[in-house]
Symmetry: C2
Subunit: 375 residues, 2 copies
């Protein structure tokens, strides 16, 4: 048995990837060699999907082709359609969506196929369907119907149209598009790693995506953005009340959600963009409360704990300003991250080895069976 | 970044556990310190569930209490019940069962609860429901109904009753019970590791179990037992035809399923028991073909490749002799392994740290965004 590495595999290299890279000390994130600061706000989510899944920023012809493929496959298949009303009736959105992603495997036109081209198509279809699954789920539980998808709009604007019921103004749609780009990939985060562990058994793309959905919902991962919003909403009194709340919470050894990251030792570069977006949306909407509270909170947490906000922190006030219900924040994360998960699964399949680590045994030894009547 | 470990995290310690231990060189497997050779055939699957989930071989009173709890919770909840007919209509059993395990989270009486006692109850219920889910799924797709569960029988005998439609003789039930014990846990196998990665985000027990279902179906993991049976059935001519088939397949660089294991350098101790069971069932049923073929195959593969049979190899002829349809072999593995998965999730929750490894970046660097019209 090898030496025991740090708990939680911190700093242990689990896989090679050409998809994303993090310089945690400098606070930099790259998608296929492009600095996130260079592309955020400049490329659409669709271009980002092309970059991750197909290896390059698309030409206009490549983008047109991808957009057509996404549009063709975004409606739900018969099994997911049939299950929608049953799963929308109870539980949390991420539970329902985990079940729907799993169920949709049999609806895929390439179901049962495991060749490279089939997996590429499955990856694109999962990205196409995820926003529609979230919007349809939300409509179903709300007893409403979703507006028709507008073929002139991209994934981001169509999602806001279907979830909020009204067509977003162009700048709002651009800001949400940038959110989707910012959340698309992030090296071996827990949900991506879960997807790769599952795919490495040569199980199917939907099994990997379903496992990733399960991991993302955890409060130590994607679930944190909802927790941030709940914290902001639970503080009575606005920005002035933030400092005493945070100091008391930290004194009581409570964790303040949305701060710190295993990999970044400085500010998460995604937080830089999301902070600016939160500020811009405060100006656009005139609703400054949660932005101001967030600004105050990050200052206090940095002062007291030396922790920087992570991607989840300003995502909360941004999504709230966009009119997205709090319990859909983690599903929105999944809408974006599905692009990274599926790209990682394609990469895993392309050069696969079963991911099967060792463990350290710390239990009883030399136990001897005795008949039940003598125990 | 740390040194790059072997691919697939081979020999890298990913977690500590008190559940099971393997001595790969000596070919030994222990559940909580009990050698598998000491307990296989001596303890029931229910006793094994108690050992794994609750830490000890039960006294009679503890066993009675667990059996009562298992019996109380084995019927499906309303959501899983409602979905059954939709998911049984298409796809593979493991896809349908992955969806049903996911869907059943909302049916759990402790849904939304994450305390230790609630998680312990969820773990027990998942073990109780898994065999019934498989049997009900099989009946649904076959257009039949399952016989009533017999309260005087254990999990193993009730499962055979429901899947085959007839009450197994006591020795047959004992043999299948031993199969369930042999498959219950196996350190950081890929599905268990996937479950722990998911649970380590503090996501729920059903998310972890659903991810594990997805990993188990892969042909490099639980899916191998079905592949073994398909291979045996594809060889025309019985035992005499095995040697030329295997030699040709190996010459053609085809993988022979059911051989070799990352951890064992000698015979998998579970294979020792399954070989004996396969022999006994050949005697009991008078149907010796697949047992004899398996014996011949293991000799040829050992001669030519130096590989030993793993747990999946003799499980194939055993399950076939028990009357289990080939495409339910991996689900049967899940019926047993659910006990290990859930015990590992409980262990992960009890001393949690996010499992978030590093990656090695091997892609492009220093890419610069250019407008789409200039690409």
């Amino acid at each position: 048995m090898a030496d025991k590495p740090p708990r939680g595999l911190a700093d242990v290299v689990a896989a090679s990837t050409a998809l994303s890279d993090i310089d945690g000390t400098a606070g930099r994130l790259f998608y296929r060699g492009y600095d996130i600061h260079d592309i955020a706000g400049r490329i659409s989510f669709e271009e980002c999907v092309h970059l991750l899944q197909r290896g390059s920023l698309p030409t206009q012809a490549q983008l047109d082709s991808l957009v057509e493929e996404l549009a063709e496959h975004r409606e739900l298949g018969p099994t997911a359609e049939a299950l929608l009303s049953y799963v929308a009736g109870s539980g949390t959105p991420m539970e329902a969506l985990r079940t729907l992603v799993s169920a949709s495997s049999v609806d895929d036109p390439d179901a049962g196929e495991s060749g490279t081209a089939a997996n590429q198509r499955k990856a694109t279809r999962l990205v196409a369907q995820m926003p529609v699954l979230v919007a349809r789920y939300h409509a179903e539980r709300s007893g409403t119907t979703v507006p028709e998808l507008d073929p002139s709009l991209g994934i981001a604007a169509n999602f806001l149209l279907q979830v909020t019921g009204s067509r977003p103004d162009p700048r709002t749609a651009e800001l949400f598009d940038e959110c989707l780009v910012l959340h698309a990939d992030h090296t071996m985060n827990a949900s991506t790693f879960a997807a790769r562990v599952i795919a490495a058994t040569l199980s199917d793309m939907h099994s990997a995506a379903t496992g990733a959905m399960g991991a993302l919902r955890g409060p130590l991962h994607g679930g944190a953005n909802e927790a941030v919003m709940q914290t902001l909403q639970s503080i009575d009194g606005g920005p002035e009340a933030v400092e005493p709340y945070v100091r008391q919470a930290l004194e009581d050894k409570q964790k303040i959600m949305g701060f710190g990251h295993r990999v970044y030792k400085t500010e998460d570069p995604r937080a830089t963009h999301l902070r600016a977006m939160s500020a811009e949306l405060a100006d656009l909407t005139g609703e400054r409360r949660f932005y101001e509270m967030s600004r105050r909170m990050e200052q206090v947490v940095l002062d007291v704990k030396g922790l920087y906000p992570n991607v989840d922190f300003f995502a909360a006030s941004v999504y709230h300003a966009l009119g997205i219900p709090t319990d859909l924040f983690t599903p929105v994360f999944a809408v974006s991250r599905m692009s990274g998960w599926t790209a990682h699964v394609l990469e895993q399949y392309a050069d696969n080895r079963l991911i099967r680590p060792d463990s350290e045994y710390l239990g009883e030894r030399d136990q001897k069976w005795v008949p039940i009547e003598d125990r």
